[in-house]
Amino acid sequence: MSTRQPGAARGGKLRAPLLFAAMAALIAIEAATTGWNGALVIVNMGLISAILALGVNMQWGYAGLFNTGVVGFIALGGLGPVLVSMKPTPGAFSAGGWGILIAFAIALVTIMAAVWLNRHLTRMKGLAILAVLIAGFFLYRAVFDPAVAAIQAINPASAGYLGGLGLPTLLSWPLGALLAAGAAWVVGKTALGLRSDYLAVATLGIGEIIVAVLKNEEWLDRGVLNVTGIPRPWPVPYEVDLQADPGFLGRAAAFGLDPVTASTISVKLLYGTLFAAVLLVLIWALQLALNSPWGRMMRAIRDNEVAAEAMGKNVTGRHLQIFILGCAVIGLAGAMMISLDGQMTPSSYNPLRYTFLIWVMVIVGGSGNNWGSVLGGMLIWFVWIKAEVWGPQIMHVVTATLADGALKQHLVDSAPHMRLVMMGLILLLVLRFSPRGLLPEK
């Protein structure tokens, strides 16, 4: 980090509250102009973005670890709701479930055997390991393939996959975090402790691999066929049920709202409360951690690894720890995102949207500062959504006197590009005038 930071901390103590107030004002303006429904959609996804940014900030801001595979961990977290909350496909487990479990056991045993050989053999090591791996691979395929075929043969149009456990959706969030943390453990174990660019390539690769696996393994999540109708988490009802509930209709009438608006808004509010609760718990824990001796150690390691190691700190161990924790938070947010959308679409995970946009959030917010990440997450998401609308609106003011036809067409066409232009401009401007982010680390 540079020590030169002109104007970075201008505004002093009031800077953070002021910026958050400005953010709230943006949301309020949005609500006043387009209604609370649209505003709440942005807020909900903004809260999830804030959690994603917190996860990346733990890795980059606390520890200086460069994770370029955020998209993979988000996708893996999204698998949580599919595995936990979907109804099991009738007959799928008896058809192929055991086969798949046995195949995984074979894979596990093979890998463990290879590791054991690697530790204990001295002569003919490479050959023996190769033989074990090849034998294990073919055995695995022999068990795995028929099991997958059996599962995918069950009602392929609407199921064709194992399904979930049919448990409450809330349970799937920790599972999403756990899945991402597991993958992070494997990546971290192999890539950490070496030079820092190992992690960058390893995560870039693992991100691609995870998304490719999710796209192709139809027995697991239906691949590109998508899983739809994922149940909502516990307190959030469906709009249709609310509109049929006389008690709710009475309350809506008391507020002077029609049933449709009232039900959609209250569903979004409930989602928002749930997400905000998770965010608050997380940020409380993270702030405690950051200000504890553990947090000081982390920053010491980040600022000078060699010095920290000389002081007797286990640098690789701490890196592994924070990498896994950060990925768990990312996975948690990935699971929350899927239960907000109600569907899992593996083909929608692309790095520009899910890796580098999260990075923009962290950098713009101020890396190393948790509140900065929250602000960056909300703000960048807000801009990402609204840029589509703003570009044309600015144009509309310029062209107010014109006829609608061709103009409208153009506005619709140019929308996605305005989003990219805006995002680039914001990032460049923030880096230019406040290179350590809007809320720099103290």
């Binding site: 540079s2 395929r141 390539v201 691999i209 490719a212 192709n216 144009m395 914001i426």
Partner: protein
């Protein structure tokens, strides 16, 4: 000869040709990394932008035609000319130089002395911006680029191999041209950096910024120079990729494929970028050919990264990279 072997040879040849394409993108990265230590994420987008501009200039599109039409209510479409390829390429190269100057003036100049990661982030910002800007400027539809390069199957090679093995290899003419162009480009770059005054200044800056400054080399001029060269290399890559698969958004994503190429070849070596590209291209195709069916296909998406990781374990500085010594 057995069929399988012949197929494998053909796949190898095509893989090498695909590798040349990767190498062309990786070259631009190496140039900027060498001179300024920045990993330029925008290199892929530069190629996209160059290709878009080339098509636009060649076919006489009016830049920002959509916007102008929307504001004035006119119906501007094109200037109505069709420029010869050489002239269009020259003009586009001029645009890339201009772009390099603007980037240096507006972005890089203000970030001197910042941490490398900040500069990297700035190139991400640049990538987002240029991608959107290119689309607004030239329209976002998929364009076909034709600068008169030969395309389609190479008949000579097919008939020769047919005579030799009884099986004609399929190699695209365009790929052969790309290989020749890559050779010419690397030769030119090497000559430039070894024998010209500016080239020597460039290497001096790459060696040691401070020392170069102290003997009167202008850092800002060198940055403009490097970004111009990278822009022109991007133009070459854009022409090749654009002729092969049309000028479209996905062109910018080849930047991600260039990372493993660099890991293999070393971040600071021009021949390394070429060899790395060739290995990745060939390895990818051969792996898919031999092992792809065994493990369910679609290996091309991730094989390059795994290969790069394996390389990192055994040779962290890449094949041709300078030994990295971390000083405390």
């Amino acid at each position: 000869m057995p069929d399988q072997l012949l197929y494998a040879m053909e796949v190898t040849l095509n893989g090498l040709m695909a590798g040349v394409m990767y190498a062309l993108v990786a070259l631009g990265f190496v140039l900027i990394y060498k001179a300024s230590g920045i990993f330029n994420y925008a290199q892929g987008v530069l190629a996209l932008f160059a290709a878009l501009t080339l098509v636009g200039i060649q076919q006489g599109q009016v830049p920002f035609a959509h916007v102008i039409n929307a504001i004035t209510g006119g119906h501007l479409e094109s200037f109505g000319w069709q420029l010869p390829s050489i002239l269009a390429i020259g003009l586009t190269a001029g645009v890339m130089v201009l772009l390099a100057i603007v980037i240096e003036k507006l972005v890089l100049k203000h970030l001197v002395g910042q941490a490398e990661i900040i500069l990297f982030m700035a190139t991400i910002g640049l990538a987002y911006f240029l991608e959107g800007f290119g689309d607004v400027m030239w329209g976002a539809d998929i364009k076909t680029l034709d600068v008169g390069l030969p395309q389609g199957i190479n008949e000579t090679l097919e008939s020769v191999t047919d005579g030799l093995f009884g099986y004609g290899f399929f190699v695209d003419n365009l790929d052969i041209v790309a290989a020749l162009v890559a050779v010419a480009l690397v030769t030119a770059l090497t000559l430039f950096s070894q024998y010209s005054k500016q080239g020597r200044a460039l290497r001096a800056v790459a060696d040691d910024h401070q020392a170069a400054l102290s003997v009167g080399i202008s850092l800002r001029f060198i940055w403009v120079l490097v970004w111009s060269i990278a822009g022109i290399v991007a133009l070459v890559a854009g022409i090749m990729w654009g002729s092969k698969s049309g000028v479209q958004f996905s062109l910018s994503l080849i930047a991600l494929k260039a990372l493993p190429v660099l890991m293999l070849g070393g971040f600071t070596s021009i021949p390394g970028a070429i060899v790395g590209g060739l290995i990745i291209g060939m390895g990818e195709k051969l792996f898919e050919f031999f092992l792809g069916p065994l493990i369910g296909g679609a290996t091309e998406n991730w094989f390059a990264y795994v290969l790069a990781l394996v390389f990192l374990v055994f040779r962290p500085q890449g094949l041709f990279g300078e030994r990295i010594i971390e000083r405390v």
